[in-house]
């Protein structure tokens, strides 16, 4: 069988994804870097009407591929039908956005002093893991750290979910219900229909 063609620089972005998760173990403020994975895909889709981020640059998709294919950790089975359905994909996006808003709300509470900084990472929106070792007293305002804890929780949760479905189904199963992927696709659909009606 033919081997894949030569690799490009962006085929190594999984390294960045992996480093990101490690950095959050040492200093939670690094979690802010994850904003790049939120803004870049959307900017690309708004600007170009493509999913180039998913199709080329996303290190997370590459990471799942690496684990599933190279390390053979995937069963390579088809995912159940509900998981690829629009209902689930859009529902998960809504759920995700709701949790994201709650996280922002928490940050605001810390910002205006209603609530104190909680040094935990919440996994799967349920399990609170003490994470104080990654918090160092800095000159950064408390809300900046609160946001970092919240954001890192989201990133870690999605990696965990992604790893579970990578192992159970095909390596990049997460990419089917990934909220970023769904959002960028919706942006592209909207752009295209706007173009048509023009």
């Amino acid at each position: 069988m033919k081997k894949a063609a030569k690799k490009n620089w962006y085929d190594y972005l999984y390294i960045a994804s992996a480093i990101y998760l490690f950095l959050g173990l040492f200093n939670i403020l690094f979690a802010w870097l994850g904003m790049l994975c939120f803004t870049i895909p959307l900017i690309i889709s708004f600007k170009t009407g493509t999913k180039t981020y998913c199709n080329k640059y996303c290190g997370r998709g590459q990471l799942f591929n690496l684990l599933g294919k190279k390390l053979k950790l995937s069963r390579n089975k088809s995912m159940p039908n509900w998981m690829k359905s629009k209902v689930f994909r859009y529902g998960f996006l809504l759920f995700f956005l709701t949790m994201f808003s709650l996280m922002i709300f928490n940050t605001v509470l810390v910002f205006n002093g209603t609530r104190s900084l909680s040094q935990v990472v919440t996994l799967l929106w349920t399990f609170k893991i003490p994470w104080q070792w990654a918090y160092h007293i800095t000159s950064a305002p408390l809300w900046v750290s609160q946001y970092a804890f919240g954001f890192y929780s989201i990133m870690l949760t999605s990696i965990v979910l992604g790893i579970i479905t990578m192992a159970m189904y095909k390596p990049r199963s997460w990419c089917i219900y990934c909220p970023m992927g769904t959002m960028t696709q919706l942006v592209c659909v909207a752009k295209e229909s706007a173009n048509k009606t023009k």
Binding site: K2, A4, S45, G49, T50, K51, T52, C54, N55, K56, G61, N65, N76, S78, M79, K84, S85, K86, R89, Y169, K170, P171, R172, S173, W174, C175, I176, Y177, C178, G181, T182, T184, Q185, V187, C188, V189, K191, E192
Partner: protein, 67 residues
């Protein structure tokens, strides 16, 4: 003669691009970030994309070609 080519169920496609990455012929591409489309002239029916698709929505179909 019949040969096989890949066909994508567009309604379920997430446009993730996993199929595009493995195609040895560049025969499958993501159309405007919406779904994957197959160029029937380029597709050799190797079914690599069908195996790769995380949603398993690519099927291999017979294409009737005139001899």
């Amino acid at each position: 003669m019949a040969r096989k080519i890949a066909r994508v169920d567009k309604s379920l496609c997430a446009a993730c691009g996993a199929c595009q990455k493995v195609c040895p012929r560049g025969a499958i591409y993501i159309f405007k970030g919406i779904y994957a489309a197959v160029d029937s002239n380029k597709c050799i029916g190797c079914s690599l994309c069908a195996k790769e698709c995380p949603a398993s929505i690519i099927s291999m179909e017979k294409l009737e070609v005139e001899a």
